[in-house]
């Protein structure tokens, strides 16, 4: 396999929309959606004579992200203009940061797909403004510019080329997403474009020290596409090189439908951005005190939560890793444990059933539609013997889809309360024994498996509602008679 002869080198530029109330340089709202051009003003529309004023929260959030990713924070920073022409960019330049980014030289720890701990270095984090949106209609009457998103604050988190596989890239990006969610600087909604990545991919012969020529895939906004696109691009590059060709440094567009990359008609001479300091804005100087205050205001980060879960709740490393992998899981866990006092079952339910349902629905933990309290109630119902764990799975499915989220109400409506009444179960047991004389004979002849069959039949008869322990006990009692 020629692919095994090559090492894959990946770097990610992750763009993250900050969840400030207003845009980076004007007081327009950053709310997603809205009628076209209704979240706009003369500043973000680049009317002549307007001047930008930097939103203080943007600096604060970027510094938060920097501290949470172990970056150094610049005491002196500034904004620069990145010049290019495109209709989604009304000023014909993007205000960004060039040589003095707010944060630099950080890292994020990940555990890669092989279970190895790895440090992914972060080159820099800088602040910049988002562009607008171009709409196209099918009649070809033209393109339509909506500038609601123009001027929404972004941070760009640039990694060093430390990633070595598509899986590692996904793990790193998930880790970043989780950190950004924990520190509440972004909602990280990938489907709304709040979190997206430019992916740089190159390959080199194993053992080589020089980097190969890289290609860049822009604006990837799902984990699945990122993984697919990297794998496709690696295969393509291997094939080109194995056939004696050379990789051209270019920007590619990933097409999810065909599963291929295509060269993008490059924004002409886009490489020549002619950065220069924005004369409309002044320097940003941050004091040690300012940075310390932000550091002290940060919430508990995943790594520390993980340690706490293992120490206080006796969770396994695997469970603790999983639960702290997302702020949403972790908060749900905390709330549920408060109610049910059963961290082990809560962790297991998140890791197995809830993760499976989300996976089937192709959704992320932020779309879990019920509260931690409701999850805690569900676990309490199992622990009290009111429902079996088989029924609990059905209740959970209901909690995802039905209007009613309260598990107590759901089992009441559905009539799923476990039958723990000995008399009622005995009746069922006798009925099943009568109907299956062969199994009874088998059991008495020493075939223990027959008991399982009989219990299964009784479960079927009660639609899974019989208390399994009680059912087992009564069957054995009756069979011994």
């Amino acid at each position: 396999m020629p692919r095994d002869d090559y090492e894959v080198v990946i770097g990610l530029e992750v763009h993250c929309e900050l969840s400030t109330k207003t845009k980076i340089f004007c007081s327009c709202p950053t709310t997603f959606g809205g009628d076209p051009n209704t979240h706009c003003c003369p500043i973000c529309m680049a009317m002549p004579g307007t001047l930008p004023v930097l939103n203080e929260k943007v600096v604060e959030y970027a510094v938060k992200a920097g501290i949470a990713t172990n970056c150094k924070i610049s005491r002196n920073s500034k904004n620069d203009r990145k010049n290019y022409f495109y209709p989604d960019l009304p000023k014909a330049y993007q205000i960004s940061q060039y040589d003095l980014p707010l944060c630099y030289e950080g890292y994020v720890n990940i555990e890669n797909e092989a279970g190895e701990d790895k440090k992914i270095r972060i080159l820099r984090i800088h602040i910049e403004e988002d562009a607008g949106k171009l709409n196209h209609d099918e009649y070809g009457r033209g393109s339509f510019v909506d500038l609601n998103r123009a001027g929404v604050p972004l941070i760009e988190i640039v990694s060093e080329p430390d990633l070595r596989s598509a899986e590692e890239a996904e793990i790193y990006m998930r880790k970043l997403k989780s950190i950004l969610e924990y520190i509440e600087v972004s909602d990280c909604k990938m489907q709304e474009g709040s979190l997206r990545a430019d992916v740089n991919v190159s390959i080199r012969k194993k053992g080589a020290t020089e980097l190969g020529t890289r290609t860049e895939m822009k604006n990837m906004n799902s984990f699945r596409s990122i993984v697919r696109a990297i794998n496709y691009e690696v295969d393509r590059q291997v094939e080109v090189i194995e056939n004696g060709g050379k990789i051209t440094q270019e920007t590619l567009r990933w097409d999810d439908v065909s599963g291929k990359t295509f060269p993008m008609r490059d924004k002409e001479d886009a490489q020549d951005y002619r950065y220069f300091p924005d004369p409309d804005l002044v320097a940003i100087k941050l004091s040690d005190e300012y940075i310390e205050n932000i550091e002290n205001s940060l919430p508990e980060l995943p790594e520390s939560r993980k340690k706490r879960y293992i120490a206080d709740f006796n969770l396994t490393e695997k469970a603790a890793n999983f639960v702290t992998g997302s702020k949403y899981y972790s908060n749900l866990f905390d709330e549920a444990v408060e109610v049910c006092k059963n961290p082990k079952s809560t962790g297991n339910m998140l890791m197995s059933d809830i993760a499976r349902i989300l996976n089937e629905k192709e959704q992320e933990p932020d779309s879990i539609p019920f509260s931690g309290k409701e999850l805690g109630e569900l676990i309490l119902l199992i622990d009290k013997g009111t429902i079996s764990s088989a029924i609990a799975k059905k209740v959970l499915e209901e909690m995802f889809t039905a209007e009613e989220k309260n598990p107590n109400k759901i089992i009441e409506i559905k009539g799923w309360v476990q039958i723990s009444d000995e008399g009622a179960i005995k009746e069922v047991v006798n009925k099943i024994l009568e109907a299956n004389p062969q199994s009874v004979a088998d059991y008495k002849a020493g075939k223990d498996k027959a008991l399982g069959f009989l219990v299964g039949q009784a479960m079927k008869e009660t639609k899974g509602k019989a208390n399994p322990q009680l059912l087992n006990k009564l069957f054995i009692e009756e069979l011994k008679k």
Binding site: T20, K21, T22, S27, C28, P29, D35, P36, N37, T38, C40, C41, P42, M45, V53, L54, N55, E56, K57, V59, N76, S77, K78, N83, F85, Y86, P87, L100, L134, N135, H136, G140, R141, G142, S143, F144, V145, D146, L147, R253, M264, R265, E268, D269, D272, R274, P277, P279, L281, V282, A283, I284, K285
Partner: protein
Amino acid sequence: MADVDKIMVEHIAKLARLNLSEKEIEGYTNDLISILEMANIINNINTDDVKETIGANIKYNVFRKDEIKNFENRELLLQNAPSQDEGMFRIPKVIN
């Protein structure tokens, strides 16, 4: 800094989406040469006793509070657009 020549001016004109005539290119070449000569004089000033600055303005940390003020007049924002449709600027088709 590379010397300013015709090729550089043509490149800059292309980046700025300017259509320049031969005569204009020649004019801008000379203009840019003298601008850079001026910049070169400034570059060579002795700055041993001058503190390092960021940007030309001595002010710093001019910030805005994160408070929403809606502009709420889309018509006014769009009124100078040569073409508009459904509240958006209509422009020649851009192929991605």
